[in-house]
């Protein structure tokens, strides 16, 4: 496994987490918007079947990193290596047509993705999202959570080996969130690599095999959740953390790194 980031790599060096070949590899990514640096020399690798969570405070650069990995934005410098057309992407804001129905949205993107059996794929996604009974409703009249489910379903349509999810469960209720994660975990079990950003630290702890901590555009940690907690416990200046409280460990780690 390739480790990314400078001080962070020490913590995970002895614990190989991911399995399989690298499917996405980014090296030395830098991106600025005017004079604000959104990413600073970020490098990472995602392997086949691996679940990677990107966590960090607001404005840390999570969405920018995922956009660059997805090919939506170009980095100012650095390289991204990925197989063309093999990365699925679910943006943070629902990217769907409000005037079209749920099934029309799915059918349109399935056709654009050149899915072989469009009807079967649409039926599969309707079952996954639990929106079968709303298939004929315009997306514009759906709740934010349901719209996000359609958004995720569209991102999953192509069956790509790598899936990038930008805050996938942000607008979902716990039941919907659980359903989405069941599906994502099943994909990962079948070999799909999943890289997702989240504000829900528990979600990162529960599902990710590896977490990347971004702060102010800088990758300050990469390793398993346990390794993050361990890194905080080793540092007496980071403040008291109770064992097993990943969220407190995360906040303490940020403080320890001056963020």
């Amino acid at each position: 496994m390739q480790r990314v980031g400078d001080p962070a790599t020490a913590a995970s060096r002895d614990t190989p987490i991911a399995v399989g070949a690298a499917v996405v590899e980014a090296t030395g990514l830098n991106k600025s918007f005017r004079d604000r640096a959104a990413l600073r020399d970020v490098s990472l690798t995602a392997h086949r079947g691996e679940l990677v969570a990107i966590i960090g405070p607001n404005g840390a650069g999570k969405t920018t990193l995922l956009s660059i990995l997805a090919g939506i934005q170009q980095p100012d410098s650095g390289t991204v290596s990925r197989a063309p057309g093999e990365v699925g992407w679910v943006p943070q804001q629902a990217a769907v047509y409000g005037k079209l129905t749920v099934s029309e949205n799915l059918r349109l993107f399935a056709r654009l993705e050149r899915v072989a059996d469009v009807d079967a794929e649409v039926a599969k996604m309707l079952a996954l999202t639990g929106l079968g009974d709303r298939a004929g409703d315009p997306v514009g009249v759906l709740s934010g959570g349901n719209r996000q489910r359609v958004n995720i379903a569209i991102g999953l349509l192509g069956g790509q080996p790598v899936l990038l999810l930008d805050e996938p469960s942000a607008a979902l209720d716990p039941r919907q969130r659980e359903r989405v994660w069941e599906f994502v975990l099943a994909l990962a079990a079948e070999g799909t690599s999943v890289v997702y950003s989240t504000h829900d630290i528990q979600e990162a702890e529960r599902h990710a095999e590896r977490v990347l901590v971004l702060a102010d555009g800088e990758l300050i940690f990469t390793g398993s959740p346990c390794e993050l907690e361990a890194a905080v416990e080793k540092d007496p200046q980071a403040g008291a953390t109770s064992s097993g409280d990943f969220e407190r460990a995360f906040v303490a780690y940020l403080r320890q790194r001056g963020h």
Partner: protein, 446 residues
């Protein structure tokens, strides 16, 4: 691209109010402008007070009675007279806005015309709150009073000529029921020639009579030119009109071409700009250009959508107007060519607007803000503004597709000039605006 096109058509079908507005608004605007241009202004309502007594509407000139009200006919043909009894009532009608102006004909009008010692004066009142209306009324009445003056002058000249003819050749003259025999210069000369033959040659009396004969002849000869002189006095300047530039397109046919260009512009711009901006507003653009469709392919799809929809609506509108206006149907193929060329150029401009504004509402606003001035600038005639300003207007009009589309439609529908020149212009604009929109799309993902 096929699936995106079908998707856009489906979205349009589900927005009936938007489609209705998109189609009806430009058609209404185009029809109004077309009618305004082809029909010209209606007669202004003017309060009329004729204080001349019924018994005094005629003047007698050289034994002939002239009805002044009949000679002032042109004045009343140009206005919609609203009768008022008094001067005060007429002025009040102007103040209250019932009429645009008031025309007072004083009771001494015919007396002054009869005596000829001083000119008869009519009074005009108008409300200057609206400068356009005021100028319209002022100019209309002034020009029509001039016409009435000309008509009266012509009548006076005819009577003066009769008098001069009487003086020249002599004859019967009726005045106040009594008949007079006027000798005239011709008969005077004949009489004097009879007399001079009886006088001894070289005598003083003969010499004097001969000089009178000479004067009578000279006077008669010169009076022969008086009809030309008097007609020149009545109309010293005449107008001879020659057309130098542009063919003679009937105003109604030009109005149809104008209506077509306006409809085409509104529908295409709004559709192209709105459809492109919607892709970003729905956050779908990044998802699409990740390999599902290229940015250029997306632009092409929007251009085809906007151009085809607007061209169909425009052709249907032209066909509809053809029921009321004589159009050259045998040139319908050329109309279609001009409409398609214009639609594509407008589509490219619309895409540039959509790509720059990146929001449906901002794009729509910019389309409307751009369309209206372009229409008016394209209709500013040369010579109506300063040469420098006209050059600026011409340059602006040339930079956008409205004027070339209007020229192309006029050429196609009315055979007014070569079609290839405006179509070539539109093709260049299509390429230019398409390049601008492609560049502006670089900011679309941010």
């Amino acid at each position: 691209m096929r699936w995106l096109l079908l998707k856009d058509l489906r979205i349009l079908r589900r927005s009936p109010l938007l489609v209705a507005l998109l189609v009806l608004y430009p058609i209404v605007i185009a029809t109004l402008i077309g009618f305004a241009l082809s029909r010209g202004p209606d007669k202004p309502k003017v309060a009329l007070v004729n204080l001349v007594p019924e018994s005094a509407t005629q003047i007698e000139l050289g034994g002939e009675r002239i009805d002044v009200t009949r000679q002032a006919g042109p004045l009343f043909r140009a206005i919609d007279p609203v009768r008022a009894k008094t001067r005060a009532e007429a002025i009040e009608k102007v103040r209250s806005g019932d009429v645009l102006g008031a025309l007072i004909i004083p009771e001494d009008t015919t007396r002054k015309l009869q005596t000829g010692l001083e000119p008869a004066t009519v009074e005009v009142f108008y409300n200057a709150e609206d400068p356009v209306k005021a100028r319209f009324v002022r100019d209309t009445i002034k020009s029509q009073v001039q016409d009435a003056n000309t008509a009266l002058t012509k009548k006076f000249s005819e009577i003066a000529l009769q008098f001069l003819e009487l003086i020249s050749t002599g004859g019967e003259y009726d005045f106040l029921g009594r008949e007079f025999d006027v000798l005239g210069l011709q008969r005077s000369e004949q009489i004097l020639r009879g007399v001079v033959s009886d006088l001894p040659p070289g005598s003083r009396a003969r010499t004097q009579v001969e000089s009178v004969i000479g004067f009578a002849k000279l006077a008669r000869d010169n009076l022969g030119f008086s009809d030309d002189v008097l007609s020149s006095v009545g109309s010293p300047i005449r107008v001879k009109q020659s057309q130098l530039d542009g063919d003679a397109t009937p105003l109604s046919s030009f109005a149809v071409a104008l209506a077509g260009a306006i409809s085409l512009m509104f529908i295409t711009l709004l559709l192209a700009a709105g459809a492109l901006a919607l892709e970003r507003e729905e956050n779908v653009f990044p998802r699409l250009v990740r390999g599902l469709v290229s940015p250029t392919g997306l632009l092409l799809e929007k251009a085809v959508l906007a151009a085809v929809c607007s061209a169909v609506v425009c052709m249907l509108m032209l066909a509809g107007l053809g029921l009321f206006v004589d159009l050259r149907w045998e040139r319908a193929g050329l109309w279609a060519g001009a409409v398609v060329a214009g639609a594509l150029a407008f589509a490219a401009l619309g895409l540039a607007i959509g790509a720059v504004t990146r929001e449906v509402r901002a794009a729509s606003l910019m389309c409307v803000m751009l369309s209206l001035p372009l229409t008016f600038l394209a209709l500013v005639p040369s010579g109506s503004v300063s040469p420098v300003l006209f050059d600026v207007i011409r340059a602006i009009s040339a930079a956008f597709p409205f004027k070339p589309t209007l020229n192309a439609l006029d050429a196609a529908m009315n055979d007014n000039g070569a079609l290839w020149a405006p179509v070539g212009h539109l093709a260049a604009q299509f390429a230019g605006f398409a390049a601008v929109s492609r560049l502006a799309m670089r900011r679309f993902s941010s």
